[in-house]
């Protein structure tokens, strides 16, 4: 059996012994709000924590990404990245307070992605406790501006500016344990906003209802023919509009995502939706706008790539079932740049993006144990084909 697999039970035991440090980091970093584009305070907090744990180099880069480097023993070896996106969907700007019990940690954003950021902050100490030293530099990054309109900007810019070679990357997501992503679908996320012009609100003309107009858009999108191959899907995942029960709605919006195995198919469908919006604009004489929020290209690591195989073996050894789905995380940016990368989940949780978001503490021990095991494998060349 490979060394990294043999070491897993010891890793699990030792990580459990320092669980207070890990929970503290999750709480202390996670309680600092970090809505996309407003991550500065959390970035400073993370860099301070990394520095307190004697990380060799800690810095906030020119793009606002907090970065910590654990120096390796062989200068010529490329770096291995560990990444957990810093921003959360929360729009809170005041401090939030997490609750901890014997079993769970709960609070806004903990499952996306504050727990993973807290684990990232703990890694220098975890690796020290496990007596692990690597040939490669281990680069700990919590990129900013990843979610929504951020469109993974922090990660894209960091990679563009990174001076040296990169051997591989592990992207961390708080949930779910067992998650093993090694490919991403082509994707475009968009928003369609419909608003009724002010003069129509005053009743000078027949007044259209923004919700009904948006309904027309939805029906038209549902009428689009989607191929079975390449696999393609349009998800209408957000909707809002109107003011109250008895008033004609002045505005309405939907958020949608086009996903496909093919970049070309996503582009074509986006163009179709653009045509739908143009058509409805003309027939209803309302202001209706299509806005692209983010996009990704389809990328993938082979399912039998050594890194994927290592990650699968680690999960099996931990007795966790692997679940392989496409991912829209920083993974795709690495793969697009030809860098082998995977995304793993750290624990189980509930109420992903809601007020009652929570993660479980005990499964996290196994989730974290994946990281040193993967680092051992990657440092010994699992990514170097």
């Amino acid at each position: 059996m490979e060394d990294y697999l043999k070491a897993l039970p010891t890793f699990v035991d030792r990580i459990r012994k320092i669980r207070e440090i890990i929970i503290s980091n999750i709480v202390l970093v996670g309680q600092v709000p970090a809505p996309t584009f407003q991550e500065r305070r959390r970035a400073e907090c993370l860099v301070e924590r990394l520095s307190e744990f004697n990380t060799d180099e800690c810095v906030i880069d020119d793009h606002g990404n907090p970065v910590g480097v654990i120096r390796g023993t062989v200068k010529e070896k490329g770096a291995i990245f560990i990444v957990a996106h810093l921003d959360t969907f929360s729009e809170l700007e005041t401090d939030q307070h997490y609750e901890v019990t014997d079993k769970i940690i709960s609070g806004v954003g903990v499952s996306d992605n504050s727990a993973a950021v807290g684990v990232l902050a703990s890694l220098p100490e975890i690796l020290r406790q496990l007596d692990l030293v690597f040939e490669s530099d281990i680069v700990l990054v919590a990129p900013v501006q990843c979610l929504g309109r951020g469109n993974l900007r922090g990660m894209r810019r960091l990679l563009r500016a990174w001076p040296g070679p990169i051997r591989g990357a592990i992207c961390l997501e708080s949930v779910e344990l067992g998650r093993l992503n090694y490919y991403s679908s082509a994707m475009i996320r968009g928003v369609i906003n419909c608003s009724i012009a002010a003069e129509k609100q005053l009743g000078r003309h027949h007044m259209p209802n923004a919700i009904l107009v948006i309904n027309e858009v939805i029906n038209a999108i549902l009428g689009l023919r989607l191929p079975q191959k390449p696999r393609t899907q349009i998800v209408i995942g957000k909707i809002s509009g109107g003011f109250n029960h008895g008033k004609i709605a002045y505005d309405a919006m939907i958020g949608f995502e086009i996903r496909s195995d093919s970049d070309e198919m996503v582009r074509e469908l986006y163009s179709d939706i653009h045509d739908i919006v143009d058509g409805i604009n003309k027939s209803f004489a309302v202001e209706i706008k299509l806005d692209r929020i983010s996009n990704l290209n389809a990328t993938q690591l082979r399912h039998n790539h050594p890194l994927v195989k290592c990650a699968s073996r680690i999960l099996r050894r931990l007795e966790v079932e692997a679940v392989c789905d496409p991912s829209e995380t920083a993974l795709s940016i690495f793969l697009q740049n030809g860098i082998p990368a995977i995304t793993i989940g750290l624990t189980q949780g509930e109420n992903f993006h809601q007020d009652g978001a929570m993660i479980e503490i005990e499964p996290m021990v196994k989730g974290i144990a994946q990281i040193p095991a993967l680092l051992m494998a990657m440092d010994k060349g699992a990514c170097d084909e």
């Binding site: 929970i23 709480v27 809170l92 939030q96 901890v100 806004v108």
Partner: protein, 332 residues
């Protein structure tokens, strides 16, 4: 009034954030430190306090030697959760069980003196939502880095939680401003320099705490300040700015009951110090009114004054800590 005290004896927690320096000072002085968390139904906050203190001030830096939870009989999972993080948990009633039993925070603090082993004891309320290890190292700093200070008291901005994720940035400390500060201004102006005399976080040498009585309820902080001031003077006392403390809000009626007990404790001390003579009996009941079906109905709350004697007067304590005399002169 000693107006200089507020300048010389007021600190900010950031002055002590070099925890390694505190640990070195502690080792040089050969001291041990106990953290006591008094609890009553704190299942929502206790684990976070333990985890952060243990992680930052025991595992990473050996500043604290033990964390002890003293519980007043919680009916929720407070004790179970605390035990799951490997700290020592006591029910207050199980400590010195041969003595008459009382319920209250002061009772827990007093009994902590018997079960903890530290030369320095730090008390931190268990309901703090924004707990951070500065609450402990900030209070310990003046005690460890100098030889003059023997007791430290916290002060802070006190936003109060008014709902999920909502904070009111001013307020809190209402009993301080409406009751304690006026009383101190009238009778003990020196003490007005304590910005938050009722704060629930303080630290001090065992040699101080064991020689003062402990009020068992809300009066514990007021009584403690007056007693330390009386025995050793202001110079051994200090206050530390801990920035921000977010805690549960209490309704006005509850604050009224708190004020009742604090006034009683204060008057009791004034009589003991022979600064005031009260010529009538002071009642033990606080009477509040509530509207029930358009009629005002009185609610009588019995708020008895109970006080524990200085711990050094308890034979079991003297035996356990090899103290020889109970009535020794106030020494540090």
């Amino acid at each position: 009034m000693n107006e200089k005290w507020i300048d010389t004896n007021t600190f900010h927690h950031s002055e002590f954030k070099d925890i390694g320096r505190l640990v070195a000072a502690k080792n040089e002085k050969k001291l041990s430190i106990s953290l006591c968390l008094p609890t009553l139904n704190e299942e929502r906050t206790i684990a976070k306090e333990i985890v952060i203190m243990k992680s930052e001030l025991m595992t990473r830096y050996p500043l604290l030697d033990e964390i002890v939870v003293i519980d007043s009989g919680s009916t929720d999972d407070t004790r179970k959760i605390a035990r799951s993080y490997d700290v020592t948990v006591y029910q207050a009633d199980d400590i010195l069980p041969q003595m008459e039993r009382f319920k209250g925070k002061g009772e827990n603090l007093w009994k902590a003196l018997y079960v903890t082993r530290g030369d320095i004891i730090i008390y931190i309320d268990a309901d703090i939502k924004n707990i951070h290890h500065r609450f402990a190292y900030g209070l310990l700093g003046p005690l460890l880095l100098g030889d003059r200070i023997r007791f430290t008291k916290a002060f802070y901005d006190r936003p109060i939680a008014i709902g999920q994720n909502k904070l009111r940035p001013t307020g809190g400390g209402r009993v301080t401003e409406l009751v304690t500060r006026p009383l101190f201004s009238m009778f003990m102006p020196d003490m007005t320099q304590f910005l938050q005399p009722l704060s629930g976080e303080y630290a001090g040498y065992r040699s101080i705490f064991e020689k003062i009585p402990f009020h068992i309820g809300y009066g514990v902080e007021t009584g403690m300040l007056i007693d330390i001031h009386r025995k050793w003077g202001l110079d051994v006392m200090a206050q530390v700015d801990l920035d921000r403390r977010v805690h549960k809000n209490q309704d006005t009626k509850a604050l009224g009951r708190m004020a009742f007990v604090i006034i009683k404790t204060f008057l009791n001390r004034m009589e003991t110090l022979e600064r005031m003579r009260i010529q009538q009996q002071i009642h033990d009941e606080m009477i509040q009114y509530q509207l029930v079906r358009n009629r005002l109905k009185p609610e009588n709350h019995l708020l008895e004054q109970h006080e524990r004697p200085p711990m050094i007067e308890i034979p079991e304590y003297r035996q356990k800590f090899s103290r020889t005399t109970a009535g020794e002169k106030a020494s540090l």
